[in-house]
Amino acid sequence: MRESRLWFWHILSAAVILVLLGIHMGIMHLGELLHMAGIGSGDPVDSSQVFGRSRQAVFMITYILLLGAGLFHGLYGLRSMFFELSLSKSLEKLVGGVLAVAGIALFLYGSYVAIVVYQMNGV
């Protein structure tokens, strides 16, 4: 049932991406509307705004969550594409292993950056 669990996480990560990307699009591209509603202020891509968000724990957690969901969803999709090439069992394991290691490494590096920026007090 390993493949069933992987597939479930693939679907769940899609749902997470949908919600978090919705928030991202709202913050980045609906700035004026948010400003009119009294929620946001200033240019969202201004460096002070970017670092301001990154120093908030909620955003730091959100970034790590989006990174994890995006990496898992993308790499599982890539694995599926490789598997459709009708690989041998050993090559399948190799592809799965390489993608898993790459995913974990990228996740750790991305999370490290998010945590470091969160802990910074200005640049």
């Binding site: 049932m1 493949e3 597939w7 459709e84 009708s86 399948e92």
Partner: protein, 286 residues
């Protein structure tokens, strides 16, 4: 066209049959051959091929049997879609040109005859038969396995499969992934997993839920679109996914196979069966 055919008043029109010809032993590559076929009302594509074989070209090969959409032998790629040749009337194609090719995603044995061995091999891999723990009962049956009407409805739609292979030829994933089990075997797997008399999920899940099982389905839905029996293999695959999801997180129902019913003994007709009406016409021998 022969003389008698042109004079037949029942002929509606003449259509051009464009038929793929290929003999692996003699031809380097498949080629299309044209035949003019007079069409009468109700004439199917299979009738057209029979007419060609009888009047124009006796070397044309295809596979067919029942002529009524039951045996699943005459699956062909007709005017761009996998269909049963016996189940499609020429006039319903709304074209004066009928292109007939062997089913895609299969090797060609000759002309319109596809090699279905791969399909049957994958079909066998899902163990399409009842698997129960009471093997002794199966070998020496003492009664019937109980199944309610509702339990029958859970899978009966998927039991209508005639193994014609049209779904496999329409599936875009089968076309690109040789190892993918495909809609027909997966549907057959679900047909038995959903059967209340069966306990074989553990033995089947190795194939059904492998990396070449249900999770390779892109849900294009082409299998359900071309199925001549309304089996809906895409639905069966989605039900397999749902079942796997529930089971992998411990929400699935623990399935116990339907019990064996005690044999019926000393049965006599009840009093409610009405008498046959009196004879109105005497037999000739009387």
């Amino acid at each position: 066209m022969n003389k008698s055919a042109t004079q037949d008043p029942s002929i509606i029109k003449t259509v051009q049959f464009e038929v793929l010809r290929y003999n692996p032993e003699g031809n380097e590559a498949p080629r299309l051959q044209n035949y003019s076929v007079p069409v009468i009302r109700g004439m199917t594509v299979l009738d057209g091929l029979n007419w060609i074989k009888e009047h124009l070209d006796s070397s044309l090969s295809w596979r067919s049997s029942c002529r009524m959409g039951i045996c699943g032998s005459c699956g062909m790629f007709i005017n761009g879609l996998p269909r049963l040749a016996c189940n499609n009337q020429i006039v319903h194609l709304h074209s004066d040109r009928v292109t007939v090719k062997p089913l895609p995603n299969y090797d060609i044995i000759r002309d319109l005859v596809p090699d279905l061995e791969g399909l049957f091999e994958k079909h066998r891999s899902v163990k399409p038969y009842l698997i129960r723990k009471d093997t002794e009962e199966q070998e020496k049956p003492t009664g019937e396995f109980f199944q309610s009407q509702q339990e029958l409805l859970n899978y009966i739609q998927f039991a209508y499969c005639i193994k014609c292979g049209l779904c496999m030829s329409a599936c875009p994933t089968v076309a690109t992934s040789e190892n993918y089990a495909g809609p027909q075997p997966l549907t057959a797997g679900w047909r038995y997993c959903a059967d209340s008399r069966d306990e074989g999920l553990q033995e089947r899940q190795e194939v059904l839920y492998s990396s070449y099982g249900v999770y390779r389905c892109h849900f294009a839905g082409a299998c359900s679109q071309v199925c001549p029996k309304g089996v809906d293999p895409a639905l069966a695959i989605q039900l397999l996914k749902k079942d796997a999801f529930l089971r992998s997180f411990g929400f699935g129902k623990k399935k116990k196979a339907g019990p064996v019913l005690p044999p019926v003994r000393d049965w006599t007709p009840g009093g409610k069966i009405p008498e046959a009406p009196a004879k109105t016409v005497p037999r000739k021998t009387e």
